[in-house]
Symmetry: none
Subunit: 195 residues, 2 copies
DNA sequence: GCCGGGTGTACGTTATCACGTACACCCGGC
DNA sequence: GCCGGGTGTACGTGATAACGTACACCCGGC
C-alpha cells in the first residue's frame, strides 16, 4: 500500500483552479467578482507564478463553491489502505479486549476500534488506549448486548443497535452491567498523533 | 466596487497548529526544523497575526505529519447525542438496504452507516445516498460476508472483518459477488456541506 | 545570588504577494 | 478594413509575508 509522502511536495492548485473555473464556464473576471480576488492575481495563481495566501486561497475556493480543504484535497491524490482481519492491532485482554481496525498511518482521520466487554467489565482500565485529545469526537455503536455510557457525570443506557456521539475529550467510559458479553464499535475522529 | 461578503469567513489555523504542536510535544524551533519554516513565522501564524502562504502552510502541515487539507478542516463542538436502533434513518431497499446510524447534526464529523447487500447487489444504485463531497474520507468494515471494492480503476477483494480506508470522493462502489448476504459498515468522515 | 539552556516574541530587512491599470490578443458585426 | 466587447497577461506600486537576529522570560543547577 502506498505510504503517505512526508516530503515537501510543492502544491500547485493552479491547474485545478483553472479546470474548475472553466468547468463552471467562468472568466477570470467572473471568478474575480465571485471570490473577491483580482483577476490578475487569479491568473498568476493558475499559472503557478505565485503561492497565494491562505486568505486568498480560501476566497478562491469559495468562489468555486468549495472549501479550501476540498480544493486542496483534489491535488493530494488518494490512498487506499486495507487492514486484513488477521492483521488487526489487538490490546486489552481479560474482561475487556479490543482491536484497532484502521491502519496506523499519520493523518488518519478516523480510528475504528472494536471492543468486547465481558459481563461487569468497563473500558478505561489499565492497558486500554490512552484518553483522547482535546477536539476529538467519538461515535460508538452497540453491536451486541447492552451498555452504559458514563460521561461528564451522566449515565446513558444503550441497547443493541444504539449509536451515540460525543466529545471524546470528556471524561468517559463504557460499562457492561449485564450478564451477557457486549460488543462495541468505537470511531474516534480527528485523532491527534503523539510523537 | 463592493466586495462580496460570501467568503468573509476568516481562516484561523493558528490555535489548531498550536494544539497539534503541543500535542506532539514540539517546541517552535522543533517544528521549525521539521517543517522548514522559521520559528518566528510559526509564532505569528499560531497567533493569527499573519495569513501564511499555501507553500508555508503546506510545510507547516507536513511538519505536523498532516496534509494541508487535513489541517484546514474546521471542527465544531458538540453534545452527547443518542440515536436508538429503531430511530435510524433507513434507505435503499431491494437488494441493497442501508441505515444511517449517526444523527443528522451540522458539524457532525463522521457519518456511520450500515449496508446490507444481497447476493449480486452493489452500492451506488438509484436511491442510495449521494456521492460524497470532495475531501471526504471513508472507512469501511466488512461485518459479514465478502465484498469487492471497485475504486479508481482498481478492485480490492475484502473478506469478513477486513477494513479499508480511502478517499470517498474517488469514484467507487461495493459489490457482493458471492451467494451470501454481506453486511458493510461505512464511516464517512469530514462530510463537508456547502454553505 | 549567578549562570547555561530552554522557551516564545519584538525588531528590521528582504522577498514577494496582491492590487489597479494598461496592454495585446481573438472574434462577430458592420 | 474598422470597430466594440470579450478574453488572458505584463507592468509598477503599496502592502505584507517570511526571514534572521536579538531580546525578555522562566527554570533547574550550583
Amino acid at each position: 500500500m502506498a505510504v503517505l509522502e512526508n516530503s515537501e511536495r510543492v502544491i500547485h492548485i493552479g491547474p485545478r483552479v483553472r479546470a474548475l473555473r472553466e468547468a463552471m464556464d467562468l472568466s477570470l473576471r467572473d471568478l474575480a467578482e465571485r471570490s473577491g480576488v483580482s483577476a490578475p492575481m487569479l491568473s498568476q495563481v493558475e499559472r503557478g507564478e505565485t503561492s497565494p495566501t491562505l486568505q486568498i486561497a480560501s476566497r478562491i475556493a469559495h468562489g468555486l463553491d468549495l472549501r479550501l480543504s476540498q480544493l486542496l484535497r483534489l491535488d493530494e491524490g488518494g490512498v487506499v489502505s486495507v487492514v486484513r482481519a488477521q492483521d488487526r492491532r489487538r490490546g486489552g485482554g481479560g474482561k475487556h479486549a479490543f482491536e484497532i481496525l484502521t491502519p496506523p498511518l499519520p493523518g488518519q482521520r478516523a480510528e475504528l476500534s472494536r471492543h468486547v466487554l465481558a459481563p461487569g467489565a468497563r473500558t478505561g482500565e489499565q492497558g486500554d488506549p490512552p484518553m483522547h485529545e482535546a477536539g476529538a469526537r467519538e461515535v460508538a455503536l452497540v453491536e451486541r448486548g447492552s451498555l452504559v455510557l458514563a460521561i461528564d457525570g451522566e449515565r446513558h443506557t444503550l441497547s443493541e443497535g444504539d449509536c451515540v456521539t460525543f466529545d471524546a475529550d470528556l471524561e468517559h467510559h463504557f460499562e457492561n452491567p449485564t450478564r451477557e458479553e457486549a460488543v462495541l464499535l468505537a470511531i474516534v475522529s480527528a485523532g491527534l498523533r503523539r510523537s
